[in-house]
Symmetry: C2
Subunit: 118 residues, 2 copies
């Protein structure tokens, strides 16, 4: 493929208008991005529910005096996430990255809750 002046640039409608030969490609990427946006909206709504649950867990644990972190639970989750990822066709490394993101966020908040109660 020869190098053209729109290459190594950002994909957008302006490039499509200037270069009819890539209009179909830009259209296809636009449709895929619309799906990504819908999926992200659903994931953010689920994250809101997830952190409502973990906030409540943090309050209960802090009131009773349990430790904010729980390495055993994290290990069980890691194994489970890997199995779900493999079944769903998701790169297991991405599932592990998500698990860490969620666990770190919840733990930080549990510590904040525990400190606010002490």
């Amino acid at each position: 493929m020869t190098k053209d002046d729109w290459q190594d640039t950002t994909i957008d409608e302006r490039q499509a208008a200037a270069h009819p030969e890539i209009a179909g490609l830009v259209e296809e990427v636009g449709q895929l991005r619309a799906s990504v946006d819908n999926i992200d909206g659903a994931i953010l709504a689920l994250l809101a529910e997830r952190f409502k649950c973990t906030r409540q867990i943090g309050v209960l644990k802090a009131q009773a005096g349990f430790a904010p972190e729980d390495p055993q639970r994290e290990q069980v989750q890691a194994v489970r996430f890997r199995a779900i990822a493999l079944a769903a066709g998701l790169d297991p490394q991405l599932a592990e990255d998500y698990r860490r993101f969620a666990a770190e966020a919840a733990k930080r908040r549990h510590q904040d809750i525990a400190e606010s109660i002490r």
Copy 2:
């Protein structure tokens, strides 16, 4: 509240069996954790679909020669994620953390795809 021997430990059924006074608490945390597990299962399924879309975007962009990253798109997403988070009762910082996690993962894969095509 007086300090007891199960405090600062991990919350689990063994502690509940040994200490009837905290059995209700352990039960409640168990129910919340079951909800967290269900929500994580749904999120992982959605992440699998999300990365199918971004993989396809990566292939299309690499075939045409577009750059893997797209700062303008990322900025639009950041603003949108913040609005969704506020509407859903999610800490906007968590939405931003999720956005970065997803953007970094997709970008890394786009670069891999671009390199495998060159």
